[in-house]
């Protein structure tokens, strides 16, 4: 019998409206959720990261800012730092860079998604949530091409539908769903 297929990581990209949506979604994940989650949330370069502490307080999983060269571990939700791109290495460590903005954004969702696709291949779940620009669409396509699972928030539910719509235009996602439903899908995909 083949070993049961396991997802090894989830990447999430979001922009305008993302904080409220994540605040609704991330606390709903159980403490024993087995997949690490890496999030790019577009945010002002001057942000002091208060939302990370706020999310950590209300989530069962640990929520922290990703540190350069650290090993990605389960039980943890990592956030990209304001004004730095977050890349994932093949050995599942974090790299931060100050390269030029991508899609007018730093951190860029595409940069996270594309490097995560190369690092995790088919064992990756990519999720695009509410947002007002096109960042994340081509990254989600790459996740799909590498055999990963793709999920997009239902644009009708999203506070800002542009980002989900752009993602859906770039790739036919495996799931288009409301946040409550997305939580159920993730728990089912990552037992």
């Amino acid at each position: 019998m083949a070993e049961r297929f396991k997802y090894e990581a989830i990447v999430i990209g979001t922009s305008a409206g993302g904080l409220l949506t994540l605040k609704k979604m991330l606390p709903a994940l159980p403490a024993d959720f087995p997949c690490p989650i890496i999030v790019v949330q577009h945010i002002s370069p001057q942000s002091d990261g208060y939302f990370i502490k706020m999310l950590d307080d209300i989530c069962s999983l640990q929520v922290k800012e990703a540190v350069d060269t650290e090993q990605i571990k389960s039980g943890t939700i990592y956030f990209a730092s304001p004004d730095y791109h977050l890349l994932i290495e093949r050995d599942h460590t974090i790299t931060l860079t100050m390269d030029e903005k991508v899609n007018y954004s730093r951190p860029s969702i595409d940069v996270l998604f594309e490097t995560a696709a190369e690092a995790y291949g088919e064992k990756l779940i990519g999720l695009v949530l509410t947002g007002a620009n096109a960042d994340g669409a081509s990254g989600l396509l790459k996740i799909k091409q590498y055999g990963g699972c793709t999920i997009v928030q239902n644009p009708e539910e999203a506070e800002n539908p542009v980002m989900p719509e752009k993602a859906i235009r770039a790739v036919i996602p495996d799931h288009i769903a409301d946040i409550n439903e997305i939580v159920k899908i993730l728990v089912k995909l990552c037992p």
């Binding site: 540190v67 350069d68 060269t69 730092s81 730095y84 890349l87 994932i88 290495e89 093949r90 460590t93 790299t95 931060l96 860079t97 100050m98 390269d99 030029e100 940069v111 594309e114 490097t115 190369e118 690092a119 291949g121 091409q145 590498y146 055999g147």
Partner: protein
Amino acid sequence: MVSDRELQDKIINLELELLLEAIQKHYGYDFREYSRAHVKRRVMHYISLNSIPHISELQHRLLNDEHCFKKLLKELSINVTEMFRNPSFYKAVREKVVGILKTYPYIKIWHAGCSTGEEVYSFAILLQEEGLYDRAQIYATDFNGEVIKKAKTGSFSIRNIKDYTSNYQQSGGRESFSDYYHATDNRVIFDKNLSKNIVFAEHNLVTDGVFAEVNMIISRNVLIYFNRELQNKVLNLMDRSLVTGGFLGLGSKETIMFSEISAHYKAIDSKERIYKKTHG
């Protein structure tokens, strides 16, 4: 079974490995211990921009054409910088470092990985206002000779001057920022008095050694491009270049925490990543 995509991925990674090997052997620049995902992104970006079919073709071209190599070098050298970047860093230097530097009759400062020089001139202004400039020797180095040439000119695009002025004010600047430069149509050119004690030079943190003993090293957003082993090596080089009691100022997401030198340093401002060497 290995899928076509997995196989292709494996080949690309092998080609990249060989490319970095070839660059090191032929040109002496060593990118093998840079963050690999980052180098791969830059190389893939370069070949798609220049319509080069694959990495092996790039390798062939740059071995035979130094100009092509120089272009790639530019792609691999990240020159995103600004004057008084993260003003709170400069403020912390004014409040927590300057007082100690003032106790020395003569100080040496090294900007390691200075890129086009924005932060070097920022620091020169800070030293000037604190009455330290005239007893300071400043070394500003980068591995990329092209950016060093630019840094030497002290001339920057006028486009960003509004942001720089605001950064300067937030950093604790005491004068009118515009007193430090004169503006032409589209450039601002900084006062020559700011550069008289600065030596700009090519120096590669990965392949070159110690060249001076200094009182402070400023190296911001340089280490993040290296993998952990190389970060450790470069921090050791910096450690050997720093006097006991000297200061190390890093970028806001850089740390000495994972390195061998951490035991010899204490953070004097952990948020701004300013460390003091407590013993040798």
